[in-house]
């Protein structure tokens, strides 16, 4: 039982796709191998891993409504490789996108299913997560907030002798509840996908999202990009202007 997790993000670190692969891998039994395809130089290595795999899990970001271009190249090589060697690992897909609606990944999922048909590979299903970038925010914020709860409890305990354990516990439960609500779709459909992968079975594609109203998500994203653009300097370089090549 060998499962290959292919991170399809071009990012070297802090990719949501890699994070989702790590989360999914937690529930998978048997041998697990994590790989990443960033350019053509990675193809041979990843294909040699796929040779011995029973399941391949692709985790990818949505780029312009579909599969990123460097992965289109990899899929073509994988099709030729699997047909030539007579391989038929089951293919599962985890997609994430910057917009809040997970259903914006529909075309991407269809492209992956079409790829499977062309390559004579069984498609096992998947999950598409809207607002995926929020996962990067929560994975940083949650440990920080937990750390702050522990810190304030400790400081209080050292100063007054009262560690306020009850308050700390309540604060932690509140944080955990907020996290659970935000991620409930990812947790539910993720668990369903993990179950399907473990029995090498199939599940339908679950389109879900971070459980946040879209207007609130848009507001958070706007603030996030304003801050990043101040630090990046773009805000001072014609941030929203119609740039032309002559400029």
């Amino acid at each position: 039982m060998k499962t290959i997790f292919v991170n399809c993000s071009p990012k070297k670190k802090m990719s949501v796709s890699g994070y989702l692969n790590t989360l999914a891998a937690l529930g998978i039994k048997g041998e697990k191998v994590k790989e990443q395809v960033r350019n053509k130089g990675d193809h041979e290595r990843v294909l040699s891993q796929i040779k011995e795999a029973e399941a391949v899990v692709f985790s990818m970001p949505l780029f312009v409504d579909s599969v990123p271009s460097h992965i289109m190249n990899f899929l073509a090589d994988m099709e030729a490789f699997c047909l030539e060697k007579g391989l038929a690992p089951k293919v599962y897909v985890i997609a994430n996108n910057g917009f809040i609606e997970g259903r914006q990944n529909k075309a991407l999922m269809q492209v992956m299913q079409n790829f499977c048909k062309r390559s004579h590979l069984p498609f096992g299903g998947g999950i598409a997560v809207g607002g995926g970038v929020m996962l990067n925010v929560t994975r940083i914020l949650f440990p920080i907030q937990c750390g702050l709860v522990v810190f304030s409890s400790l400081m209080n305990g050292l100063q007054t002798g009262n560690f306020m354990l009850r308050e700390a516990l309540l604060a932690f439960i509140e944080l955990a509840l907020v996290m659970t609500v935000l991620h409930c779709g990812v947790l539910f459909f993720g668990a369903r996908l993990i179950k399907a992968i473990n029995r090498r079975g199939e599940c339908s594609v679950g389109y879900t999202r971070m459980m946040l109203p879209s207007f609130l998500f848009a507001l958070v994203a706007d603030i996030f990009f304003i801050i990043i653009s101040i630090f990046g300097g773009g805000i001072f370089k014609g941030w929203l202007a119609r740039k032309t090549e002559e400029q």
């Binding site: 993000s9 071009p10 990012k11 990719s15 350019n39 970001p61 780029f63 312009v64 409504d65 579909s66 599969v67 990123p68 271009s69 460097h70 289109m72 190249n73 899929l75 073509a76 917009f99 809040i100 609606e101 914006q104 529909k106 075309a107 269809q110 492209v111 992956m112 299913q113 079409n114 790829f115 048909k117 062309r118 879209s214 998500f217 848009a218 994203a221 706007d222 990009f225 990043i228 653009s229 630090f231 990046g232 300097g233 773009g234 370089k237 014609g238 941030w239 929203l240 202007a241 119609r242 740039k243 032309t244 090549e245």
Partner: protein, 163 residues
């Protein structure tokens, strides 16, 4: 201005030239988008990678009509065409808005007239349906008011379909 991008061999540049004021051949010899968002946050509408696609979104921005000629790959654009499209994120701004009830980014260059996509090559019915969905999503995403999609069984049949 009409801009045409295609993934066909070089000789097609001449055949396609009457269709648009500017013809861009996607040869696939450039780096894929790195997903850094620098074209939003650091150097607007410009990529940090210094290749032929560094200012491609500015070229797209100038055109009010975009014609894409692409080989079918699983119901999506060929890797060469998709590479160009992935590098045009700077066409939009980081700000969010709603279009057709879904969240999208606001458009740096405003709404555009028309997106026309010609897909050639061997295609299954499922792949055609995927392309219909994909081109529709692209038109909304890039802000094109109209969208047309045509299929040709091979590159040779393209001329007839495009006539």
């Amino acid at each position: 201005m009409r801009l045409l991008i295609h993934d066909l061999p070089e000789k097609w540049d001449e055949i396609l030239r009457p269709k648009a004021e500017e013809v861009f051949r996607a040869d696939g010899n450039y780096a894929p988008c790195q997903g850094c968002f620098g074209c939003w946050t650091k150097h607007p509408a410009q990529c940090f990678m210094k290749d032929k696609l560094q200012t491609i979104c500015q070229k797209f921005g100038k055109a009010d009509e975009l014609i894409i000629v692409t080989e079918n790959h699983y119901g999506s654009y060929s890797a060469a065409i998709k590479n160009v499209m992935d590098r045009t994120i700077g066409l939009s701004t980081p700000f969010m808005t709603y279009r057709k009830g879904l969240t999208h980014h606001t458009l740096r260059y405003g709404k555009k007239k028309k997106l026309t996509v010609y897909v050639y090559g061997d295609m299954t019915e499922d792949e055609k349906n995927t392309f219909r969905l994909l081109a529709e999503c692209n038109a909304v995403n890039f802000g094109y008011r109209e969208m047309e999609l045509h299929f040709a069984a091979s590159a040779e049949e393209l001329e007839g379909v495009m006539a």
